[in-house]
């Protein structure tokens, strides 16, 4: 092992340990804060809080702040690099902000009654004032977009709607794409293909990056449905990225990924059943975006298929269920995302989470093995 690699390893392990220690230290403060301001799950609008999950009502959400804030603070203080870490941290922050707004509006916001497309078309017909007619006509594409994407989301009466999230996530993805395409240089205009080296794809990398940032953020969010599930799987994913960045000798990314792993260890410690707090959209969207960006920044975009395996399986189960429901009128899974399917089948929460952790760890190992070829 070269001295540089050894130094990088020691430095990253130091970041990991520091992040874990810092997160453990302020976790009680966060818990107290969340309880004090009643940022907790409520049973009156959350149907998943039934039966054996009744005890989860009243559990604080936005526990993902533990990871987001720890990672952001440590990176800004000790690993700030204008070339490499500021955009990942910035996009993570932006996505986390979006998630935080959703979490808070879901708890404290009122019900939102949005006009359907049919309603808006009727309003155009009946309104007497020309400017109102103009306004409703102008708003038709937006309403149509909302109705189109709403089929993929549960009927949400509170918080930020799916279509609004998608727009904001698109912006986060576009920022990442700009950074990769313009700032990181021509080495990143390529796509790494397993067992086949890299191929130059030029500006096509932009939509690919936007897609992976949006898709991964939402996938992590979807998988965050059981105590410890998302946290444990993210540990494997970021640990895999840490190893890859060590192999590649990325001096900025290895400490960053190690910091995330450290903070996630503390988070998962408190998040395993019965959870002291839950990740919430603030953590899921933020860490999902960061996972995608870090893999893209290492020029190993397709490794995400392995490193985000459980998250993608979860989100694909939702897509398959929605398509099957609307096209064929039948369920493929008893419930989606996939972890709910197994719950309905009678698996215990612990069983599902542990098995998913193991599968994720195995697939990440496979990903690392492939990356070495």
């Amino acid at each position: 092992m070269s001295p540089v690699s050894l130094y990088l390893l020691k430095q990253s392990l130091g970041f990991l340990i520091s992040a874990t220690a810092v997160a453990f230290l302020w976790a009680p403060l966060l818990t107290k804060f969340l309880y004090k301001y009643k940022i907790t799950r409520r049973g009156d609008y959350d149907f998943t809080l039934q039966g054996e999950k009744k005890h989860k009502a009243g559990t604080p959400i936005m526990g993902g702040l533990l990871v987001i804030v720890t990672v952001a603070v440590i990176t800004i203080l000790f690993n700030w690099d204008r070339s490499y870490t500021y955009v990942p941290i910035g996009v993570m922050g932006l996505s986390a902000l979006l998630g935080a707004a959703d979490d808070l509006l879901t708890i404290f916001g009122g019900e939102r009654r949005l006009r359907s497309l049919k309603h808006r078309l009727n309003l155009i017909k009946v309104h007497k004032k020309w400017y109102m007619k103009f306004w409703h006509t102008f708003a038709i594409p937006w309403t149509a977009f909302r109705e189109m994407v709403s089929i993929f989301g549960s009927k949400q009466e509170r918080g930020i709607q799916v279509h609004e999230k998608l727009i904001l996530q698109f912006i986060a993805g576009a920022i990442t794409a700009w950074w990769v395409y313009v700032k990181l240089g021509e080495n990143w205009h390529t796509l790494w293909i397993p067992f086949n080296g890299v191929i130059t794809i030029g500006w096509w990398i932009i939509p690919i990056i936007i897609f992976f940032v949006m898709f991964t953020a939402n996938a992590v969010n979807v998988a965050d449905g059981l105590d410890g599930l998302a946290g444990g799987c993210l540990i494997s994913a970021f640990a895999g990225l840490t190893i890859i960045s060590w192999i590649e000798g990325r001096t900025a990314f290895m400490p960053l990924n190690a910091t995330v792993v450290g903070a996630l260890i503390a988070y998962t410690y408190f998040n395993i059943k019965p959870a002291r707090f839950q990740m919430g959209d603030v953590g899921a969207l933020g860490l999902g975006a960061l996972l995608a960006i870090n893999a893209i920044a290492l020029n190993r975009t397709l490794l995400l298929l392995f490193f985000g395996f459980i998250f993608y399986i979860e989100i694909f189960s939702v897509i398959i269920q929605v398509l099957s429901r609307h096209l064929l009128g039948r369920r493929v899974f008893k419930m989606s995302p996939l972890h709910h399917h197994f719950e309905i089948k009678g698996w215990s929460e612990e069983k599902i989470v542990t098995r998913f952790w193991l599968i994720q760890a195995f697939v990440v190992t496979v990903g690392i093995w492939i990356a070495l070829h």
């Binding site: 039966g51 096209l327 009128g329 039948r330 369920r331 008893k334 419930m335 309905i344 089948k345």
Partner: protein, 323 residues
């Protein structure tokens, strides 16, 4: 008779496959004892793009599974984590019975409508007896209506209604004004269709013929009639002679058509409706369907609402699939 699998399917609709359900007397019963599938028609709710089980077109298994999922979602506490029915309601502690489950199904709009029931039964019957999938054979909408045609191919059962079975492209008339009333032609797997009911809030209806029993009156009965012909009473003797003089086939053959359907009788209220079996005794051969004796749930004549509904239909006939 219908094929064994089709009969099992009807049995499943009459006893939905809920695991671990208790019988009314509290003893553990066989699977799903007594939960008769309710009637549900989507015509008023008009849910679109929905699961077929939620629009009255599900199979017994789908209905039972959906009940479990809805119970989980709505905290109803009717099932255990294993999927078995609870011995006691999780919330109220009251013993669970088949009636509780039926009420739950109806309150949550789970059930089957007439054409959905008939389609599932006939599909099973033809798959087993003729190795033919009727969903691929039935004409639902013409191909030039591309979108509707595509939807009907993707979701055939949801798009099949009574009119599909009345279409000359799909079925032929067996009993009706055009071909006459020879009830000996009726077979299991035929359908009884009621079109254009005249009363408000009544829609077209369809029943599936499950069995046709045809038998000849036993000889002793006939011998008894012959002995009466020797009676000293002139009036009685001439009456019996006239009966004996009738065509033997017409006089001796008795046909009973057994049917099954999903229906909602007004007299049964909110929680009484569902899949049901009945029979039609051919007491007036050569005459139309309304001249026969319909009985269901031990009710005949005007008390049998299937019969009274049939009377309100402009067209009532028995048809057979062209498969």
């Amino acid at each position: 008779m219908l094929s064994p699998k089709a009969q099992t399917l009807i049995h499943s609709y009459l006893n939905l496959p809920f695991k671990g359900l208790l019988r009314l007397d509290g003893a553990a019963g066989e699977v799903g004892v007594g939960v008769r599938c309710p009637y549900f028609n989507n015509a008023r709710l008009k849910q679109r793009g929905q699961l077929r089980v939620l629009v009255g077109k599900g199979t017994p298994k789908e209905i039972a599974e959906e009940a479990y999922i809805i119970s989980v979602q709505k905290h109803a506490g009717l099932f255990e984590k294993s999927g078995d029915c609870c011995l006691h309601n999780e919330h109220t502690g009251a013993p669970m019975t088949a009636d509780d489950l039926r009420k739950f199904l109806i309150d949550n709009r789970l059930g089957i409508e007439c054409s959905g029931f008939v389609t599932h039964v006939l599909r099973t019957h033809y798959l087993e007896s003729k190795k033919t999938d009727i969903l691929k054979k039935l004409f639902i909408v013409p191909k030039h209506q591309i979108a509707r045609w595509l939807i009907s191919r993707l979701r055939p059962i949801e798009n099949i209604d009574v009119k599909t079975y009345v279409s000359e492209r799909n079925t032929v008339q067996i009993i009706g004004i055009t071909v006459g009333y020879d009830y000996s032609k009726v077979m299991a797997g035929d359908v009884i269709t009621m079109l254009d009911k005249t009363l408000p809030f009544q829609c077209n209806h369809i029943l599936v013929v499950t069995d046709v029993i045809s038998f000849v009156i036993p000889n002793p009965l006939r011998r008894g009639e012959e002995s009466l012909s020797q009676s000293p009473n002139d009036g009685q003797r001439s009456l019996v002679a006239a009966r004996l003089a009738r065509n033997d086939n017409e006089a001796d053959q008795r046909i009973t058509i057994h049917y099954a359907h999903s229906r909602a009788w007004q007299s049964e209220g909110k929680y009484g409706h569902g899949v049901s079996e009945g029979k039609m005794e051919i007491t007036a051969p050569g005459k139309d369907l309304l001249a026969q004796t319909w009985s269901e749930q031990n009710k005949t004549g005007e008390q049998n609402e299937t019969f009274t509904e049939a009377k309100t239909a402009r067209v009532i006939e028995i048809r057979r699939l062209k498969v």
